[in-house]
Symmetry: C2
Subunit: 220 residues, 2 copies
């Protein structure tokens, strides 16, 4: 019985996700879904990305998934962009239904890219299609090189992988070759973007990828 109910929920979620993707296609808006552990650096990546996109005159919005607080949302307030906070009240992932409500509150005609920061978690968020064009796996070197093999679904589902906090790599036992091999085995196509958390974030390649992705959504 448990499994049956679960299937029904997943079915409804997937239907809703398809609806959202159709809406985004109509509005020519790109939506990407950042998934990573607590503390992988998702909010910092968003801060750097949004600042850079502003300089290039792209307009962004953020949907923040958080279990309990508005701390991440508050960190993004200084950019003066639309931010929607979804407090999941204990749940470990976002669902398409709450993304629908968030998108309904946005003026999509004025937005180029919607970033979703999912709840900090490598398991459940990877299982749910929430209408995004791309899931992005965010992992930091301080978490260890074994994360792809331990959480394979996320790395299989990801359209791109961000390896963060590379400035701390020299202080850890992170085995880069083992990490790269595992990612490649799980996902032969996702590009890997390396970033540093503190200074020199090195986000240009990632920005280029976003711009290409936006172009393909606009042309679709």
């Amino acid at each position: 019985m448990e499994i049956t109910v679960m299937k029904n929920i997943m079915g409804a979620n997937e239907e809703k996700a398809s609806e959202l993707r159709a809406l985004l296609k109509d509005k020519k808006v790109l939506m990407v879904n950042l998934i990573g552990s607590p503390g992988a650096g998702k909010t910092t990546i968003l801060e750097n990305t949004i600042a850079a996109l502003k300089e290039k005159n792209y307009s962004a919005a953020v949907i923040e998934g958080d279990v309990a607080t508005d701390r991440d949302a508050k960190r993004l307030q200084r950019f003066d962009i639309p931010i929607t906070l979804i407090n999941t009240d204990g749940a470990c992932h976002l669902e398409a239904l709450s993304i629908e409500a968030s998108l309904a509150g946005l003026e999509l005609d004025k937005i180029d890219i919607v970033f979703i920061e999912n709840v900090g978690n490598l398991v459940c968020p990877a299982e749910f299609d929430i209408g995004e064009h791309a899931k992005i796996a965010v992992v930091s070197v301080t978490e260890g090189d074994d994360k792809p093999s331990k959480y394979p679904l996320l790395f299989r589902e990801a359209e791109a992988v961000i390896l963060n906090k590379t400035d701390l790599e020299k202080y850890t036992n992170f085995n880069r070759q083992s990490f790269m091999t595992d990612v490649k085995n799980l996902n032969g196509t996702a590009p890997l973007f390396e970033m540093a958390s503190m200074d020199k974030p090195n986000i240009e390649p990632w920005l280029g990828w976003l711009e290409n992705k936006l172009k393909s959504v606009r042309e679709s």
Copy 2:
């Protein structure tokens, strides 16, 4: 309907958890449940703890919860202790029913402490009583100082908090005072154990706490 089913599952889980605690009391075995993000250092803490307990002639067993692989379990094999691996097949936490099956495979009369390494996650594992005497929150400085306030349930439920990777603190913007204040506000009684991930793990205070806890289980 969804909620009702959920409640039934939780009820069955809690009943089972109480049964397990009665069994452990009868057998004078301490069971602790390590909960933390992927990459917080739970397996390394177990490696250091088990090595130290062996020297003191305590006998330990480990129940490893993992989404997909046996990598953590393999890291512990060299200690020649009973290790049970629970592959949750995608689920983000362990439940009392699978702990019951794991305990059934152990010779509890010969064991002092059972360590559970829960699935790497700060959300779901905190919600489930799996018969343990104590939940231990494991968080590393590289994850950032905001984890207690963002994942309050775990820190409320924890009987002790381990702050790991303090050797990397000087390379991060971790705000120790903010972290300490948040932990104190959520949980006025849990002791905080600081550990380093690479060298000089500093586990003596934690070992002392475990020994005291074992004593209280034996005397209960």
